[in-house]
Point group: D2
Chain length 187, copies 4
């Protein structure tokens, strides 16, 4: 029984563009480090009030060498006004330094491609990927700093050459809602 | 010596458009009630994190009959992405119900017209206008809920037919900064 | 129909001792000013985390001339350890400057005398008394700064020689609980 | 060069009594697990507002098997009122479940014995001890949840049979003060 049966491989990010990075990035090239992805929309209150500040704190707390921090701007509503220029202004005003991928628009619907691949419920969502590129957490809504730091630290501590079977992929769902709340914006 | 010497008449809002109201509003038509204006930009972190929630709380705490609450979207940076469509989406996502005026762009510079008339320092700014249409507070940056409620209540309690000479117009300046901080975005 | 039928006269404080004041105080001698009483126990988490900081903010926001602020230490549990020496140490550590009355112990039960007179539900309770010595608010549990400041300001604005019939005495009850919670400690 | 030269052995707790435990505990018996000690005084505002809630969150976030959480009540002022009965009432009101040691009073001064052994600056102080019983963090004042969880997780991830030379013992000092502030109470 392989570890890949236990934990699914994290789907690659399909971005139409990137900001805060000189060239496009890929999860594939980050193999060997832990990856934190904050999936957000710049007009989602739960993202702006909680998710973005927490992601900035993650960036400050963990070393760049051990933990890659990425934003993923996955717009599923108000597409016309949450464009790349608006995102650049948002990133500048909020002093975001980590790279942000713009989730590639779907050719057939309003949900962008990476969001579809992961089957995300909405924004904000926190995604944790281990050194072997496996999806270890996909959490929609608020999550405590202490819990996040514990999970990231555990992934950092894992040895690549060991099988990691004891920690289960966790998806903690928040309450259902069809609109944006303080928690987030749900599909 | 007239009261109008003591307290300056609040300049009229010059709006290019309004949202959350069926027709354009004016300060002139609000004479007889206290008016609270929250001057903001939708991409200003201090506005989103503090000013907007506080303004919503003001709206919930005071009666519509006694206190008019308005937003004034005074964009002085990133004009192209903070347009009316983006503002409509922002207002919807943040569940803002009070009317918002879009400050009319200047023909000669990046500072919009109402902002110029008031000589504002930046966003967020809280403006309080008394029943006689006089400017009673113009505060840039954060201000405590308790202080705001005290000031508004005092204006509500004033009799229109009395001269109101005892309370001074207050402008509390925050520290100087040429960029957006947690406090706000300064000119 | 007199106003005294509308609003009950606030019962006098029966204190076994006072701290932070050179001599014992009485509500009777405060007639003509608004009085704010924060009823607390020094080991009540809701009092320490919310009530005490809010009361200190009230003291800072309103003038001593217009608003008297008092603490009332109404112990109904753990009597032996919440004695006057402990309270003095607590007051010093939390840098409380307003006078605190120690509610006189009952001769027949664990609920102190002033607490009984007011029929309080527990701690923290906020009591507001108007210039005529009438009880205008008795609120158990948390209450927002903006709401408190509005209520106090309205009482400050009232003319002593006018009848004050429009504002109802409000008792906002929190959820029932037989223990201390984040909200407070209930009888 | 031994690891014991790198990291000092954590001094044993000298307690006059314990609460929330059937029998006295010792650091010696906790060898093999990470130990978190929150040093506090029940009348220290910084402890009550920040330290105690954070310690309770640590207890909820980490497993009892991997991380032992202890309180250490180190009284260096107001000794008479911060006695064991008061502490029991405090612990009950704040719903503290972890064991609390009462630091043994000094025979010669006001600073209790364990506090002296560790050379603590005041309260609150967070102490982290690794599986080998070595002192790895001694932090006076506030510290962010994310930072604390990262440090604890790193200690949990360490193998007992490996030498742990890379992480330095950290003492982060807050600003000097001779009184209790929001940060804590300093010696």
């Amino acid at each position: 029984m392989s570890q890949f049966t236990e934990y699914p491989k994290a789907a690659e990010i399909e971005a139409s563009a990137w900001i805060n990075t000189a060239k496009p990035l890929s999860l594939a090239q980050m193999r060997g480090t832990v990856v934190v992805i904050h999936v957000f929309q710049m007009l989602c209150p739960g993202c702006v009030l909680h998710g973005i500040p927490q992601t900035q704190l993650i960036r400050q707390t963990f070393s760049e060498k051990q933990v890659k921090v990425l934003g993923l701007h996955s717009v599923f509503e108000h597409h016309s006004v949450m464009n790349i220029d608006a995102l650049r202004a948002f990133s500048a005003e909020y002093r975001i330094t980590f790279p942000i991928a713009i989730d590639a628009p779907s050719t057939s619907g309003h949900i962008p491609k990476t969001m579809q691949r992961y089957g995300l419920q909405g924004t904000p969502t926190l995604i944790l990927i281990d050194k072997l590129g496996r999806l270890r957490l996909q959490h929609y809504g608020k999550i405590a700093d202490m819990q996040v730091a514990k999970l990231i630290s555990e992934l950092v501590g894992e040895q690549q050459d060991e099988l990691q079977l004891e920690t289960a992929t966790t998806t903690l769902d928040s309450e259902k809602d069809t609109q944006c709340t303080d928690t987030g914006c749900q599909l």
